[in-house]
C-alpha cells in the first residue's frame, strides 16, 4: 500500500505535479495534493503539555487524535489571530515509524496548480540563519513564487518523537 502511494508520488514527480497552494502572510506555499487528507475550518484545539510551541495541540479528526502545527510559528513568522477564516490542512507524512496524520494551520487556501517538474528550481542557500531544508524547491507560477514544502522533512522529530532518517 505504502509502496503504491510512494510509487504514485514518484511517478507524478517525474512529470507534472498537482500542488495545493496556501498563503502565510504574503507568501505562497505548495504541498503535494496527494498528501492532503482534508481541509477544515479553524476550531479550538486541546493543548498538549511539554510540546514545542508550534505544536498547538490535538484535534479529533473523525475519531483519531491529530496534532496541529502552526506553520507561522514553525517558520518564525509573526503570529496571526485565529479567525473563522483560518484553515487547517490535514496532511499525511511518512515517518520511519509509519504514516502519521497531522494538521497545519495556515492563513488561507488559494488554489490547486499544476507544476511541471522542469519549473521547479532548487532553493538558494541563505546561510545558517535561514533554514531551507524543508523547502523542496521554488516554482514560478503565473508570476508568483511558490515554495514547495517537503512535509516529511518539515514534520520530523517534534511531532513523531523519532528523528527522521535523512535517507528516507
Amino acid at each position: 500500500m505504502t509502496n503504491q502511494v510512494a510509487a504514485q508520488i514518484d511517478a507524478a514527480a517525474a512529470g507534472s505535479n498537482q500542488m495545493l497552494t496556501f498563503t502565510l502572510g504574503d507568501e505562497t506555499y505548495g504541498v503535494d495534493i496527494l498528501r492532503v487528507q482534508e481541509i477544515r475550518g479553524w476550531q479550538p484545539v486541546t493543548r498538549i503539555p511539554q510540546a514545542p510551541s508550534h505544536v498547538l495541540g490535538v484535534l479529533n479528526l473523525r475519531g483519531s487524535i491529530v496534532p496541529i502545527v502552526d506553520l507561522r510559528m514553525r517558520f518564525n513568522l509573526q503570529h496571526a489571530e485565529y479567525t473563522p477564516l483560518t484553515v487547517i490542512i490535514v496532511l499525511s507524512v511518512q515517518s520511519p515509524i509509519g504514516r502519521r496524520d497531522f494538521g497545519v494551520v495556515v492563513d488561507g487556501v488559494s488554489d490547486v496548480i499544476d507544476v511541471a517538474a522542469s519549473d521547479v528550481k532548487p532553493a538558494p542557500e541563505f546561510g545558517a540563519h535561514v533554514s531551507t531544508e524543508f523547502i523542496e524547491g521554488l516554482a514560478a507560477v503565473s508570476g508568483r513564487m511558490v515554495m514547495l514544502l517537503d512535509i516529511d522533512q518539515l514534520i520530523g522529530a517534534d511531532v513523531t518523537g523519532v528523528a527522521l532518517n535523512p535517507a528516507a
Binding site: 498538549i48 490535538v58 479529533n60 475519531g63 487524535i65 511531532v159
Partner: protein, 699 residues
C-alpha cells in the same frame, strides 16, 4: 496440483497447542489406580491427532515422538498397563516436550533432540517394563513364554497368509518405534505366530540399551490386504528391512493374486528356544485408534467449559477497528442528541424518539463489541493445576488447588498481563504459604494444604483472589527483615496493614532460604507494579497460622477507563478514578511551606505535597489561590500528591485513544479521549505526572 501445506501450519499449531492444553488438563484429572476410560480416550485422541497432523506437515520428529506417547496411551487404554503417578508424570513431561517441539517448528528453530530422545526412551522403558518380556529392555536371552506357536498349519477361514520378515535397524527405537506395538497390531488383524531372532544380541556389557538387536519372522493368517499389513509398519519405514510375502493359503475363496511366492522367503533358522508367543496380548475390543485425525481434533479442540457453539478466530486488530468505529458512532449520536433537543414542533417529537432509540441501540452495540474482547479467565487459570502439582511434588508438600469462578470474563489484553503476577502469587502460596505436611499435622491442620483461586465480577471491575490455608504472614519476621534492610526506622510502629504493605517493597523477601521457586526478592514489588500498570490494586489479608489472601482488583478492560473530569483553565483533563483517594477543598492556613518552596498539607496521617497541575502543564488557571480551587489527592506508585485543579466536572467512562498514533508520548499523559461534544481531553497518567512534578521540584 500441489497444495501449499504451509498455509495450514498456523491453524495446525494453534489447534495443537489447544489440544495439548486439554491433554494436560485431562492428565491432571487422571486418577492413579482408577483412571476414567473417557479421560484416557481424550488424551489418546490428542496424541493421535497431533501425530497425524505433524506427519501430514512433515514434522517427522514430532510425529515419531507422539507415536511413542500414543503407544503408551494405547497400553493404558487397553488396561494392559496401570496408570501410576510415574506414568502421568512421564506423560505430562511429554506434553511439555511436544509443546516445545511444536513451538520450535513454528519458529523454525532446532528441536532439543537430546531431551526428546531421553524422554522417548523413558516412555518406551515404561511401556516395556509393564509388558514382560520386553523387546525394548533387552534380556540376556529371550525367554520362552509359551511354545505353542501354531506356525505350521494355515488356519482355515482366512483369505491370506502373509510371511513377514521384519529386521529393524539398530536406530529403530530412536525414532520412537516400538516393535511390540507393531506385532500387537498385527495380531489384531488375525492369527499371528511370531519367531524371534535374537542372534544379533550382544553380551550384556556391549549392549546399547537404545539400540534394537532383535528381528522377527512373522506369519499372519488374516483377511487383511497387503496395504493394511504394510500400514502397520508405516512408521518404521526407513528404520528396518521389511519383506512381506504371501504364501498360498489353503482357502477356497482365495483371490487370484499373482503372489510373488517365487522370491523365496528368507526364513532364517530360528532356534526353538527363541520362539515367543505373544498371542496372550489380547486385542482390545473397540480400537478407535484409526479414526481420522480431523475428527479427533474436533472433539478435543473446545476448551473445557467454553461454549461449544460455533466460533471463529478473528484478529484483535479487526475488533479494535470495530471498537473505534463504534466509539465514533457514540460521539456522533451524542452530538445528534444535543442538536435534536434544540428543535421544536410536531416533527421534533418524532426526531427525539428516534434519537432515543438510536442511543439505546448504539449503547447495546458498544457493549456487544466490548464483550467480543472478553474471554473467561480460565485461559489463565488453566495453567495452575499443572504448576501446583509440579511444585508440590518438588517441595514434598501436599497441596490441593481449588478454583472457582473460572468462567468470569475479562478483556483479553488484561488477561495477557495478569498471567505472570498470578503465577507469582500462586507459586508464593505453595512455596511460602503452605507448610510441610508434618508441620501442618502438628498445628492440627489437615496434611493437605489448600491453595484457592477465585474470580468474580464486582461493579465494573473483576476481583481475583489468591489464597492459601498455610502459615500466614509472620508480622514479626516481616518487621525484623524490614529493619534489617532499613526499609523502616528502628522505632517505627506500624499497623498490620502497613506491615503487610512492606512485602510489596523492592528487595524484600522473608523466605529463610531462597529457593529456585520463589524468594529472590524480585517478586511482590513487580507483582504490584504490573497490577498498577493495568490500573488495578492488590491488597493482602492474613492471619497467622490460618493463611493469607491476596485480593487483586482489575478493570474489566483497558479500552475504557472510569474517569473524573477536571477543569484547569480552559482545558479539561480526565483523572482515572482508581488513582483518586479523595477530593477536598483546602482552607487558608492549612498549607505549609517546606523550606519556603514546596507546599504541603496534612492529609489523614501524613504530609502530602501539592502539585499545581497548571504549573506542570504550563496553563493559565482560573485561580492560583489554593483555597479557591480544589485539591484532588491521588496516588501513584505508592506516593500521594494533592493535585491542584480549578474544578471537578463529572465522572464518566471514557474510551482511551493513543496519542502516539499520530503524535508521540507525552510525560504525565497516558492517552486522550473524545468528549461528548467532539473535543479532545487528555487522560492523566498519575504516576508519570508525579514523577514529572517531583523532577520539577528537584530542579
Amino acid at each position: 496440483m500441489a497444495i501449499d501445506l504451509a498455509q495450514f501450519h498456523d491453524a495446525f499449531f494453534e489447534e495443537s497447542f489447544e489440544a495439548l492444553d486439554s491433554m494436560e488438563a485431562a492428565l491432571l484429572q487422571l486418577n492413579p489406580g482408577a483412571p476414567e476410560p473417557e479421560l484416557i480416550g481424550t488424551i489418546f485422541r490428542v496424541a493421535h491427532s497431533i501425530k497425524g497432523g505433524s506427519a501430514t506437515f512433515g514434522f517427522s520428529e514430532v510425529a515419531s515422538f507422539t507415536h511413542t506417547c500414543e503407544t503408551l496411551l494405547d497400553e493404558l487404554r487397553a488396561n494392559r498397563m496401570q496408570v501410576t503417578r510415574h506414568v502421568t508424570d512421564l506423560l505430562l513431561k511429554s506434553v511439555d516436550v511436544m509443546r516445545d517441539m511444536l513451538r520450535a517448528q513454528q519458529r523454525k528453530e532446532a528441536i532439543d533432540a537430546q531431551k526428546v530422545a531421553d524422554l522417548q526412551f523413558d516412555l518406551e522403558l515404561a511401556i516395556a517394563q509393564k509388558n514382560q518380556p520386553a523387546p525394548a529392555a533387552p534380556a540376556p536371552a529371550p525367554v520362552v513364554v509359551a511354545a505353542a506357536a501354531p506356525a505350521e498349519a494355515a488356519k482355515p477361514g482366512f483369505a491370506h497368509r502373509w510371511r513377514i520378515s521384519f529386521r529393524p535397524y539398530p536406530q529403530l527405537f530412536v525414532h520412537g518405534n516400538d516393535p511390540l506395538r507393531m506385532i500387537r497390531e498385527l495380531s489384531e488383524l488375525g492369527e499371528l505366530s511370531v519367531k524371534l531372532d535374537g542372534n544379533a544380541l550382544p553380551s550384556l556389557e556391549q549392549l546399547e540399551p537404545e539400540s534394537c538387536y532383535l528381528a522377527w519372522d512373522l506369519t499372519l493368517d488374516t483377511d487383511a490386504a497387503r496395504e493394511v499389513v504394510n500400514g502397520v509398519f508405516d512408521w518404521a519405514e526407513g528404520d528396518c528391512e521389511l519383506k512381506i510375502e504371501e504364501e498360498a493359503a489353503p482357502v477356497a475363496a482365495q483371490p487370484a493374486v499373482a503372489a510373488p511366492v517365487a522370491a523365496a522367503a528368507p526364513t532364517p533358522e530360528a532356534k526353538p528356544s527363541n520362539v515367543v508367543n505373544i498371542a496372550d496380548a489380547k486385542p482390545t475390543a473397540a480400537e478407535p485408534a484409526h479414526q481420522p485425525a480431523a475428527a479427533a481434533a474436533v472433539e478435543v479442540a473446545p476448551k473445557a467449559g467454553a461454549t461449544d457453539g460455533g466460533s471463529i478466530r478473528v484478529s484483535t486488530e479487526k475488533i479494535d477497528e470495530l471498537m473505534n468505529t463504534v466509539g465514533e458512532l457514540v460521539i456522533t449520536q451524542s452530538m445528534l442528541t444535543q442538536l435534536g433537543s434544540k428543535f421544536t414542533g410536531h416533527v421534533a417529537e418524532q426526531l427525539r424518539s428516534g434519537l432515543a432509540t438510536l442511543e439505546r441501540n448504539v449503547r447495546e452495540l458498544q457493549e456487544s463489541v466490548m464483550r467480543v474482547r472478553m474471554l473467561p479467565i480460565s485461559f489463565v487459570f488453566s495453567r495452575f493445576p499443572r504448576m501446583v502439582r509440579d511444585l508440590s511434588g518438588r517441595l514434598g508438600k501436599h497441596v490441593e488447588l481449588k478454583m472457582t469462578g473460572d468462567q468470569t470474563e475479562l478483556d483479553k489484553t488484561v488477561m495477557e498481563k495478569i498471567g505472570d503476577p498470578l503465577v507469582h502469587l500462586v507459586r508464593n502460596s505453595v512455596d511460602h504459604g503452605i507448610e510441610m505436611p508434618d508441620v501442618r499435622a502438628a498445628a492440627g491442620k489437615p496434611q493437605t494444604g489448600t491453595v484457592f483461586l477465585n474470580a468474580y465480577h464486582k461493579g465494573g471491575s473483576i476481583t481475583v483472589e489468591v489464597g492459601d490455608d498455610g502459615g500466614g504472614l509472620n508480622k514479626d519476621r516481616i518487621l525484623k527483615k524490614a529493619r534489617e534492610r532499613n526499609l523502616i526506622g528502628p522505632n517505627e510502629t506500624l499497623t498490620d496493614d502497613q506491615i503487610y504493605e512492606l512485602i510489596f517493597m523492592a528487595g524484600f523477601s522473608t523466605a529463610e532460604q531462597t529457593t529456585d521457586i520463589s524468594g529472590r526478592g524480585v517478586g511482590m514489588d513487580v507483582v504490584r507494579r504490573n497490577i498498577k500498570e493495568l490500573g488495578g490494586t492488590i491488597e493482602v489479608k492474613s492471619t497467622l497460622g490460618k493463611g493469607s489472601r491476596f485480593i487483586i482488583t482489575l478493570p474489566l478492560t483497558l479500552a475504557i477507563v472510569d474517569g473524573q473530569s477536571v477543569a484547569v483553565g480552559t482545558e479539561t483533563y480526565i483523572v482515572p478514578l482508581i488513582t483518586i483517594i479523595e477530593s477536598l477543598q483546602l482552607k487558608q492556613g492549612m498549607v505549609n511551606r517546606v523550606a519556603g518552596q514546596g507546599e504541603v498539607f496534612w492529609f489523614r496521617d501524613g504530609y502530602v505535597p501539592v502539585v499545581r497541575l497548571h504549573e506542570v502543564f504550563g496553563l493559565e488557571p482560573r485561580t492560583t489561590q489554593l483555597h479557591e480551587g480544589l485539591i484532588m489527592v491521588v496516588e501513584g506508585e505508592g506516593r500521594k500528591v494533592g493535585l491542584f485543579v480549578d474544578d471537578l466536572l463529572g465522572q464518566q467512562q471514557v474510551v482511551i485513544k493513543s496519542l502516539e498514533t499520530n503524535f508521540r508520548r507525552v510525560d504525565g499523559v497516558s492517552g486522550a479521549t473524545i468528549l461528548g461534544d467532539g473535543a479532545v481531553a487528555l487522560i492523566l497518567d498519575v504516576p508519570g505526572l508525579i514523577r514529572v512534578a517531583t523532577q520539577r521540584l528537584a530542579a
